[in-house]
């Protein structure tokens, strides 16, 4: 057996384990965001949205769908890796992986793919639910892939970093409650930048999730709130920096090795 082949088997096994972890409890992982999105689309999109003018030629209900998909891509990927890694440290089975010949890069990459798989499954579920209310052609599929994958991997990296830093369960939810949710809500899930006062618009430009929402809406609907290249670059560097930090933490054994 070649080294490359055995490396790939090792990597694939860890990816598979990460996927089994969230699919075995799919009622707790995949269903809740899909149900929440159904409610968001019904209440905000269908009922309240009737009173909101079209945004760049798109109905409010349709405008909402990419925002919700991005919101749950962010939350799903963060929750998956942070929980997986924290539980692995807490129960000690992270040692099962640390004593194997997997490289640190492979360990991190496999866990990130677990986060990607879960968040993409959630986002796809939300897209399917949205078809009950509205239908629209996906204008730039490449942009959907680019932003969905890089954003998911970025927040999966954040999840791993917090999974390493956390000492207690509640540390995992602190970041969600005080950082991720506010950033996502103010990043434009439910509104366009034109819907907030001009004096406060600069806050959205400082928010990285704004560029993520923007990229996703461009991919799905072809509309833009900010420059596409800038959005693509922000997301790219966001991912590269977070991924590098995660691999570095694994290599040095931060909170993993005694």
């Amino acid at each position: 057996m070649t080294n490359l082949r055995s490396d790939l088997i090792g990597f694939k096994s860890l990816v598979e384990r990460e996927i089994i972890r969230f699919t075995s409890v799919f009622k707790q992982t995949i269903f809740p965001p899909i149900i929440s999105s159904f409610l968001f689309i019904s209440v905000f999109g269908l009922f309240l949205g009737k009173g909101i003018e079209n945004i760049q030629g798109v109905s409010y209900l349709t405008f909402l769908v990419p925002g919700l998909m991005m919101m749950y891509l962010i939350e799903g990927s963060y929750l998956n890796t942070s929980t997986s890694l924290f539980v692995a440290r807490w129960a000690g089975h992270i040692q099962e992986i640390l004593v194997t010949p997997l490289s640190y890069f492979e360990m991190v990459a496999a866990m990130l793919i677990g986060g990607l798989a879960r968040s993409v499954a959630e986002a796809f579920g939300i897209y399917l639910v949205s078809l009950l209310f509205t239908s629209f052609p996906i204008v730039h599929p490449w942009a959907v892939f680019y932003f969905a994958i890089l954003v998911s991997l970025s927040f999966s990296s954040i999840g791993m970093i917090i999974g390493l830093l956390a000492e207690e369960w509640e540390h995992l939810s602190i970041l969600t409650t005080f950082v991720i949710t506010p950033l996502v809500y103010f990043g434009g899930v439910f509104h366009s930048i034109d819907m907030i006062p001009p004096s406060l618009q600069f806050l959205m430009y400082l928010n990285p999730t704004f560029y993520m929402m923007n990229g996703m809406r461009y991919g799905m609907l072809g509309i833009l709130d900010a420059n596409l290249l800038l959005s693509a670059l922000v997301v790219f560097f966001f991912f590269i920096s977070l991924f590098s930090v995660t691999v570095y933490m694994f290599k040095t054994g931060y909170k993993l090795k005694k």
């Binding site: 055995s6 088997i9 384990r17 075995s24 640390l98 194997t100 090795k257």
Partner: protein, 304 residues
Amino acid sequence: MNAIQISKLSKFYGKTQALHEISLAVPAGDFFGFLGPNGAGKTTTIHAMTGLANFQGGDIKVFGNDVIHDYRKTRALIGFVPQEFNFDPYLSAEQILVFEAGYFGLPKKIAKARAAELLEEFELSGHRHLDYRKLSGGMKRRLLIARGLIHQPKVLILDEPTAGVDLELRLKLWDFLKRLNEEGVTIFLTTHYIEEAERLCKRIGVIHHGRMIALDTTAALIDQLGSHVITLRLDRSFEVVPEPILRFGVELVKQGGNMIRFRKDDERISDLFKTIHAQGIGITGIETEKTSLEEIFLEMTKST
């Protein structure tokens, strides 16, 4: 060739030095016992070998490969059986083995066959689909060992594998480990059961306060550091040992009794027998007792 070569290994926890330039070598095919009281540094040394602990000084080589620079090679050669149960709670016994095999690069078909073989060997076949949390303590312990062996390692490192295990299972595990060693697997064992080390290990290292204080074959260690105690049954009883005999360091087993004992000293033993005879005392029985490894171990690690 040495399976394990540790040179001047030092490890600090903050400002506390846990390991002080430890050096030891374990030849390929050896059954090595690593003994020491709680907190002596046994688990820390093992963790440094297996990649679970960083260390600040020295180096560790496994079959000539450095555990830091060639960590992928060394980890493929080592099977590790930790002291604590550290299974993935989402998996069944069989899945635990198959996934672990996968991490070591075994294709699924081979992994499943190997898992089935080990589940059979450790009498876990009937429980292979059970969530590991539903297994008994003994079953979990056997599953830990099976997991450590799933990739057929050249070196098996066991951290107190029989702690809390009943006698029957302990004896079975001893037989299994002996067989494994005879098949060529190098075994590095830490244990609290000195009898276990005495019965299984060809060589023994003793660590105390993070320092190696002994390293030799089990037999040599017992020979060098141990001694024989000889008990003589005499033809009369004594309240005190007669003065000429007392000079040989003899003591009464029980005051008013007819038995005396002394530590064997080859040079003086014939003089002692002559002296007893000169006192007109007859010897009616003789028993010899060898110091156990446990007594030697306790002597060496007496509070310092």
